[in-house]
């Protein structure tokens, strides 16, 4: 065996153990959204009653999609573009589209981790003072008045961002088994341990019960609203990281006899378990905040950046030994995001490797390095927070969700590959896939994703997102999301060597669609 997890004659890296794959898959699924998005979404959409649409969404779309992506990855044993290309040559554009989406997300996701790293330090001494919001946008980020104009770089963001990228690239350079797997085997148990301590502390705070009451009191009338069901499917969908090729990539390092459906159930339920835990921790804390300020919970409920970098600092300042709470919270946030970032960048690196035949370390340096440079150039600037806001919203709605919709429709309806993939998964899986799997993916998932898209587009044209100017949104929102699709299509048009035109070396190079490995993997 070579030191990168491959054997002589074996062209693809492999996970060292089933646990290694599971931890990596869970590490990818559990990200910032579990901590700062789920609690607020549940609270705003029926509280305890949200559980019903949430579970239905998990069972009818989340898990079936997860199983589908695992199956595609394991069957073709290639990164998304090459795997989809084996299904049908033109379908590779979806893969490159997903790679472009991963590129965009990686560039801004990393900067949030850099902020988290700084806030671990700020927790000691509560350096945000009396006004955490003014501190965040003013003292710390030095956010420019005009979105889109870069007036300079912020050293306090630049250096931690650089450090994050160096660590990510080192882990990727070490490979699937020695890098990604080992990192997740260490980080995920650490994350759970830190977060459990945080939740226990939160539950002992005055007002914790009020916060939990706000989160879990059921509003059954919410179930009659379509928007609540869209929110449930949206949360499951974004939380599981199913739309941008990560799980296809990770599953491509599985052995041919590995379980698929059972692993997907474990990863899916682990992701939701962490979300429930995060909901309890976040709302117990918000209950304490409401109690301290003498206001109802709905006045302090927040999500996203506002929750992490404004509400939590406020809470930390008002509790005894707040530094410890801050340390646990921001450390958890950074770890949760970090393991997801690693998986996102791996999609890009693996896709370029499969396409060009580059070895891992040069691919990590060139591709990962380029991603890091763009990330630092844009997001360490004083306009970084504005870029982030627009890019995140549009790439999620019109990148991830739309790519997933196109992928499901192509696989289920145009190529009609679901029965084939179902048989492939059933050969080795703990849980047999029946007709329900075909119905969920062929009918329910496309309908729900399509409905989400229409609903989201309608809101987009009613008013400008977050009140940004149309010019700014066209460039950094629509432009980024549309750009990812265009880049995906353009890359897919470059002829492959097996088409008669060469980009890379001799026969059998990874990605030519005709390697020994792919033939063996095809069932």
């Amino acid at each position: 065996m070579t030191n990168d997890g491959t054997r002589p004659g074996q062209s693809r890296e492999r996970w060292g153990s089933r646990a290694g794959f599971l931890f990596a898959a869970i590490g990818s699924a559990i990200g910032l959204g579990n901590i700062w998005r789920f609690p607020a979404v549940a609270y705003q959409n029926g509280g305890g009653a949200f559980l019903l649409p949430y579970l239905i969404a998990l069972l009818t779309a989340g898990l079936p999609l997860l199983i589908l992506t695992y199956t595609v990855g394991r069957k073709y044993r290639k990164s998304p573009p090459a795997a989809y290309r084996e299904m049908a040559k033109p379908a590779q554009f979806i893969g490159w589209w997903q790679v472009a989406i991963c590129f965009v997300i990686a560039t801004y996701y990393a900067v949030i981790l850099a902020w988290g790293v700084r806030y671990i330090g700020f927790s000691f001494g509560e350096q945000w003072g009396d006004d955490p919001e003014a501190f965040l946008f003013g003292d710390f980020l030095q956010a420019s008045e005009t979105p889109g104009e870069i007036g300079g770089y912020v050293g306090g963001v630049f250096w931690p961002l650089l450090a994050i990228w160096v660590v990510v690239l080192i882990i990727l350079a070490l490979g699937v088994r020695r890098g990604i797997e080992k990192a997740n085997l260490f980080f995920i148990p650490s994350l759970v341990a830190f977060f459990l301590v945080l939740v226990i502390r939160a539950l002992t705070l005055d007002g914790a019960g009020t916060g939990l009451d706000a989160l879990f009191s059921p509003d059954w009338s919410a179930l009659g609203q379509g928007s609540v069901w869209i929110a449930a499917y949206g949360q499951i969908f974004f939380s599981l990281s199913v739309g941008f090729g990560i799980m296809v990539t990770y599953a491509s390092y599985l052995g041919r006899r590995s379980d698929l459906s059972g692993s997907a159930l474990v990863a899916g339920f682990a992701n939701s378990s962490f979300e429930i835990l995060a909901g309890i921790g976040v709302f117990a804390t918000l209950g304490f905040m409401a109690h301290t300020e003498g206001v109802p919970v709905d006045e302090v409920a927040a999500d996203g950046l506002g929750l992490a970098f404004v509400a939590f600092p406020t809470v930390i300042s008002s509790m005894p030994a707040g530094w410890l709470f801050g340390l646990l919270f921001f450390l958890s946030l950074v770890i949760a995001g970090f393991t997801s970032l690693v998986s996102i960048v791996q999609v890009i690196v693996a896709s370029v490797q499969d396409r060009t035949g580059m070895k891992r370390v040069p691919a990590v340096i060139v591709v990962g390095g380029l991603t890091a440079v763009v990330s630092i150039a844009l997001f360490a600037s004083d306009s970084g927070v504005h870029f982030l806001d627009a890019a995140d919203h549009f790439i999620n709605q019109y990148g991830i969700a739309m790519a997933a919709l196109v992928f499901v429709v192509v696989v289920a309806w145009l190529l009609r590959r679901l029965p084939d993939l179902q048989a492939h998964a059933n050969e080795t899986s703990a849980v047999r896939l029946g007709q329900w799997w075909l119905v969920c993916l062929g009918i329910i998932t496309p309908l729900v994703l399509g409905w989400m898209m229409v609903d989201s587009l309608r809101a987009e044209f009613e008013e400008n997102y977050e009140g940004y100017s149309t010019d700014f949104l066209v460039t950094y929102g629509w432009g980024v999301a549309g750009g990812a699709l265009v880049v995906g299509i353009l890359i897919s048009l470059i002829p492959w060597r097996s088409d008669g035109t060469s980009l890379s070396g001799g026969p059998g190079a990874p990605g030519d669609g005709a390697t020994t490995d792919s033939r063996k993997g095809r069932r």
Binding site: G48, L215, F216, S217, G255, G268, F269, A270
Partner: protein, 44 residues
């Protein structure tokens, strides 16, 4: 906390964490078969 909130929290925990435990047990009962490329230690 109100009774309905406590009940919903308990149900959420039972279903989701219970689902995780059930999935783990199911997976444990179905170890991967070795294949010709299997590195040592792959079977859980």
């Amino acid at each position: 906390m109100s009774t309905s909130a406590v009940i919903m929290m308990a149900i959420a925990i039972l279903i989701v964490w219970g689902g995780l435990v059930a999935a783990l047990l199911k997976l444990r009962g179905h170890p991967d078969e070795p294949d010709d490329e299997e590195p040592t230690g792959t079977v859980a």
